[in-house]
């Protein structure tokens, strides 16, 4: 609720005015029957055609007023709803984009996506209808009670006693509904997840002819979601009839009590009859309120899900110079006795993500320094922690022990963007976006056409780009699916090179390249990006053997450190890798 109010606050005056307009419209609506009655009961019997015309026109005018006011107020409410939804989506998108790796793992991408669409849609619907219905319902409820109070206090007292009971009931059930709707939305997350899994893995599914199995798997989550939805909807549909019943019981009581009062000469039968009419008004008011509260509980569940992401604290906040760590090591890139493990605490509780493996230590006591313009090669078995080093260097995570320095400064003292701008990176998880080739290489940075073309040339991408009909304007499909694996990698390398970065990180960036292309790439980087500090992670010895320093990792520990030649002598694992790859020639 707090969350919603935060977004509604800028529009409080707009909403207030809309509500006033709506109030006028409601008044006009309630006035119309009186004019009608007056026309028929008083004017018509006089037989004056002129007056009939006059009051008839008054009615039409009233109807027109009501129409104008309602249309105007409704349009305003749609505007407010669309603007609020716009802002919520903007903030949610920004927050999602800036989630740390750990936070992202915890929420899971499918859940973020369904928060973005389904949940914001719920909020938008609520904001809109609460404005169009929010004034009429209470007005009718309380107005109705007031009028009956003025007619016969004793009888109206019954309504006065019932109204709070009903409101409490409605509020209580709607509050109970929040967790129910939360479950519904989580069911939606599962639907989105299985859909995504099948869309991305369609080749595997088809190759293994698992369509039937997948249909069943999907049917499971689909049925579960429908079940939850039915459960929530049925429970939330209860207060309506319940409240109606209570009011009707109240009405019966009024008739009985009224009969006694008539007998005692305290009231007239006509009053009880009038109660019947106003009673309908009160009922409509209560039903309207009920609808609003039921929507509120759905909106509240969604608001909670959205605010969970938006209000996620920045767990990689920038620290002040005074808190910064210092190191004795000189060098451009420095790891000072760094140990790290992927945190598991919250992940395990929520049951999402990759709970188990996280507890294992990913890096233990990593200590190295790379001078400016030098190059570092990292090699090691699958899962030995190579990519984790990049994760720490770019500060996607903070280490538990030790510190990371770039250009003599603790990475935590950098503004995130300032730090990242010094790098050109190709990650294993990198993607090509549905943009032109040029857009993918420039990637929002201020680089010249020359930079782009040189980068493409150095990345060995020039030939295939220029072979395309529209060259650099060629549009890549989502995930770059219209390019081959090797072409994608070369585009990513071009992207990394385009801004002539101070530091270039290639994490398994050439695994899909043939050896010749890979060799040419290395030569081009040497020749044209000599001043760049280079970090290369690779499976191929040939990719790293030219580096000025090489780290050999095994299960998160450094088991060999030095140049290619020295490692061949001192590190059996390295020698082994080398002979496997080269020896069979």
């Amino acid at each position: 609720m707090h969350f919603l109010l935060r977004y509604l606050k800028p529009y409080r005056w707009v909403i207030l005015v809309s509500m006033l307009i709506k109030l006028c419209a409601t008044l006009a609506e309630l006035l119309a029957p009186y004019v009608l009655e007056y026309l028929i009961d008083t004017v018509a019997p006089t037989g004056e055609v002129g007056r009939v015309f006059f009051w008839g026109s008054a009615m039409i005018l009233l109807a027109a007023c009501q129409w104008g006011l309602n249309v105007y107020a409704n349009r305003r409410s749609v505007r407010v709803a669309s603007e609020c939804a716009y802002r919520i989506r903007r903030d949610l998108f920004r927050a999602s984009l800036n989630l740390s790796g750990e936070q992202m793992d915890r929420f899971g991408l499918p859940s973020i996506i369904s928060r973005m669409t389904s949940d914001t849609y719920n909020l938008q619907g609520f904001i809109q209808s609460s404005q169009t219905m929010g004034i009429r319902a209470p007005f009718m409820l309380f107005g109705g009670i007031l009028v009956t109070l003025s007619m016969d206090r004793a009888l109206a007292l019954i309504l006065c006693v019932m109204a709070p009971v009903m409101i409490v009931l409605v509020v209580f059930i709607s509050w109970k509904g929040i967790p129910l709707y939360d479950r519904v939305q989580r069911g939606m997350d599962d639907i989105v997840r299985v859909m995504r899994e099948n869309i991305t893995g369609i080749r595997v599914v088809k190759a293994l002819s698992r369509e039937k199995h997948e249909k069943e798997r999907y049917a499971d989550v689909n049925n579960e979601a429908a079940k939850r939805d039915i459960r929530a909807s049925i429970i939330m549909a209860l207060p309506g009839p319940l409240v109606t019943l209570m009011l009707n019981v109240g009405l019966t009581l009024i008739v009985l009590l009224g009969a006694h009062r008539v007998n005692d000469g305290l009231t007239k039968p006509g009053v009880i009859l009038a109660f019947l009419t106003y009673f309908n008004m009160i009922l409509m008011g209560v039903m309207g309120l009920n609808r609003i509260f039921m929507m509120l509980s759905k909106a509240n569940a969604s608001a909670k899900r959205i605010s969970a992401v938006i209000d996620e604290r920045d767990d990689l906040a920038r620290i002040g110079e005074d808190e910064a760590a210092h190191t004795d090591q000189t060098g451009f890139l420095v790891f000072d006795h760094v140990s790290f493990s992927y945190q598991a605490d919250e992940t395990e509780k929520s049951g999402a993500g990759f709970a188990g493996a996280s507890r294992q230590k990913a890096l233990t006591d990593i200590h190295f320094s790379v001078p400016k313009g030098a190059s570092l090669g990292i090699i090691g078995a699958t899962g030995s922690g190579k990519s984790t080093i990049v994760n720490l260097l770019m500060r996607f995570y903070d280490p538990q022990d030790g510190h990371v320095f770039v250009d003599g400064r603790d990475v935590r003292t950098y503004d995130k963007d300032e730090l990242h701008r010094r790098f050109g990176v190709v990650l294993q998880t990198d993607t090509i976006f549905s943009d032109t080739v040029r857009g993918n290489i420039a990637f929002g940075r201020d680089v010249t056409e020359d930079d782009i073309q040189n980068a493409a040339k150095d990345a060995m991408a020039k030939d295939f780009i220029e072979a395309l009909d529209d060259g650099y304007d060629h549009k890549a499909a989502i995930q770059g699916s219209n390019f081959s694996g090797g072409q994608r990698q070369r585009l990513m390398i071009a992207r990394a090179l385009a801004a002539n970065p101070e530091i270039l990180i290639l994490d398994d960036a050439s695994s899909a390249l043939d050896y010749r292309t890979d060799a040419n790439l290395r030569r081009a980087i040497d020749e044209n990006h000599g001043g760049t500090t280079l970090v290369v992670i690779a499976q191929r010895v040939s990719s790293i053997m030219g580096c000025s320093e090489i780290l050999v990792l095994d299960e998160g520990r450094v088991i060999g450190q030095g140049t290619h030649e020295s490692l061949l002598k001192t590190c059996p694992v390295y020698r082994d890798i080398y002979t496997v790859q080269m020896g069979e020639a």
């Binding site: 109807a63 249309v71 995504r196 008739v255 000469g265 090797g486 398994d508 899909a512 292309t517």
Partner: protein, 589 residues
């Protein structure tokens, strides 16, 4: 780009969508019939209630000291009974309708998914995942909300309207005709509005789909965006799609939301007309004041539900637009059905041939030209060549993810188009460069291709793929949950899992497309040893860049620009000192 249009090709009329919606509801026609009967009953009860109340009041009307309490009590009891029954009916109507509408939504969601399973692979290469998902989440949500609330409202209203019109006709024909003058006006207006709002609601759905697609794509590449400090740029671009979504909603709903008040106004004017005509009639002596009063009472009963329908009609229209988007997906061209006389590929020998195959993803841009190759049973065929030469395309054709444009692919001597896809694809095991895991335990992920795989088999496969020690280090071992986008499991480890999956799925043909590109070399070597056992006696297609892994292939095809430029064994090709030789030497540069 032309290839990447949105899914919608043919504009469909709303009436078609409406009919198909009805066919979904048709499945529940018995329940819906029951709901209708209950609606009538509950309406009658809720009309009876006030009349009993009236009788009770009449019984009390005698005045001070003369109230007949027996009568009052009698009618009050009946009145109470009516209300209790009516509430019970409402509850059961709500419950039934909720079930029906959510089941319709569930059915549609399932149909969309089942449809996806029948679509060719090319469809997924062309369409944004986010947009497809938006049809299942957002569009069907809109439909389901509309069904669950609006159908009851419409049914109830219809019952009331029919009753009220009957009463009006009974009281005074001329007045009733006056009242009904407004009906054609309302009908014409709503029809016009439907036409006016329909494209806007459609645009609203399309914009939502686009936004969803954008979000999906950008968040998938979140890390890349962060590394290039491009958040602001992406946020700016999101601003655009977000703005479109907000505007689409505003444009559609700000128009749709005027329908309710307008119908309300038409109704009010109708009332004014009645009062007016009534007064004139009265003056002419054709009607009594009492008759006018009760007539107006009924015409209010008539206009109330009409107002209610008018207020939800825009929801109905938006649901129809959403339905159109869902149906257009359901109308996509499916993977060509298996030939009627399609044979099942049995006792697979593993003899594969490509005969003069030409193929391109875009018509007019051929990737493979007259390509021919032959793999004898049990042989290992390696495909090498620079990136972009068409290697993965060959795999797409062998598995019949795409159909050739000229020539033919043969398996055991039969054109693969004359075989059932299931048996053809089932004859291959495949490990792809793009690893794929789904949310589930490690056990489930490995056992994926094989029904009822035992723990023993899974462990054996995991050992062969050298992922077993890693799995054992996890606290929950094979029961550890993993997910596609969950971090902390490296690409290499995912690849090992998929290799284990293929090892378990025992077939007579094997496809390895850069199967070990993300695995370190010593692990790779051990996997290869295991694979060699696995591949023994199997026809095997291998794409690899590390030429050391394919040296003992029986046939190496060197591909360049979609043509086979050289073929032979490793030794022969090296002796030729041609293209392959240069590729090979590059490893040591």
């Amino acid at each position: 780009m032309a290839r990447r249009d949105t899914i919608m090709h043919k504009p469909k009329d709303a009436r078609g969508a409406f009919k198909r919606m009805l066919s979904y509801l048709g499945k529940y026609r018995l329940l819906l019939g029951l709901i209708f009967v209950l609606c009538v009953a509950s309406n009658v009860l809720s009309l009876l209630g006030p009349s009993f109340a009236g009788s009770a009041i009449n019984a009390a009307a005698a005045g001070e000291g003369k109230v007949d309490f027996a009568q009052v009590g009698y009618f009050a009891l009946r009145m109470l009974l009516c209300y209790v029954l009516s509430s019970c009916l409402t509850v059961s109507i709500n419950m039934t309708m909720t079930k029906v509408s959510k089941r319709v939504a569930r059915g549609m969601r399932q149909d969309v998914f089942d449809k996806l399973m029948r679509l060719p692979v090319g469809f997924f290469d062309r369409n944004q995942a986010g947009d497809i998902i938006s049809r299942v989440s957002y569009d069907i949500d809109v439909i389901s909300t509309c069904l669950s609330t609006d159908i009851i409202a419409i049914l109830t209203s219809t019952v009331t309207v029919i009753g009220a019109v009957g009463m009006m006709l009974y009281i005074s024909l001329p007045l009733a005709l006056t009242a009904l003058i407004t009906v054609p006006a309302a009908v014409v207006y709503t029809t016009k509005m439907r036409k006016a709002t329909q494209p806007r609601y459609k645009k609203r759905s399309v914009n939502y789909g686009k936004m969803n697609g954008f979000v999906e794509e950008m968040l998938t590449g979140q890390k890349t965006i962060l590394t290039y400090a491009y958040e602001n740029g992406v946020e700016e671009r999101f601003e655009g799609v977000n703005r479109d979504a907000a505007d689409g909603y505003f444009r559609a709903d700000s128009l749709g939301i005027t329908i309710g008040p307008t119908i309300g106004m038409i109704n009010q004017m109708g009332l004014a007309l009645i009062a007016f005509a009534g007064s004139l009639l009265y003056m002419g002596g054709g009607i009594t004041i009492g008759q006018i009063s009760s007539f107006i009472l009924y015409s209010r009963k008539f206009s109330g539900p009409i107002n209610e329908i008018a207020n939800i009609i825009n929801e109905l229209y938006s649901a129809l637009s959403a339905a159109e988007r869902v149906f257009s997906l359901l109308d996509e061209t499916e993977e060509l059905a298996d030939d009627e006389n399609a044979k099942t590929l049995e006792n697979v020998q593993g003899d594969v041939e490509m005969r003069d195959v030409s193929f391109g993803y875009d018509s007019g841009k051929t990737i493979l030209h007259d390509l021919s190759l032959h793999a004898s049973p049990g042989k290992m065929v390696a495909i090498v060549g620079p990136t972009g030469a068409g290697k993965t395309t060959i795999i797409n054709l062998l598995m019949r993810f795409y159909d050739v444009q000229a020539g033919a692919v043969l398996a055991d001597g039969s054109d693969i188009r004359s075989l059932t896809r299931k048996s053809l694809r089932g004859a291959y095991s495949m490990v792809l460069q793009d690893t794929w895991v789904f949310r589930g335990t490690i056990f489930d992920n490995i056992a994926y291709g094989k029904d009822n795989a035992s723990m023993d088999e899974v462990v054996r496969a995991a050992k062969a793929a050298h992922i077993h020690p890693f799995v054992m280090r996890l606290p929950a071992g094979y029961d550890t949950e993993i997910s596609e986008d969950g971090g902390n499991i490296s690409k290499g480890q995912k690849q090992l899992l998929t290799i284990a999956r293929a090892m378990l799925y025992d077939t007579s043909m094997l496809i390895l497309d850069e199967a070990t590109s993300n695995v370190d070399t010593s692990t790779e070597r051990e996997i290869q040893r295991a694979m060699r056992d696995l591949m023994h006696g199997k026809t095997c297609f291998v794409i690899a860049h590390r030429l050391s892994t394919i040296q003992n292939a029986d046939l190496i095809l060197v591909l360049d620009h979609g043509d086979v430029v050289e073929q032979g064994t490793h030794r022969e090709l090296l002796e030729r000192k041609g293209f392959y030789y240069r590729l090979y030497r590059a490893q040591f540069e």
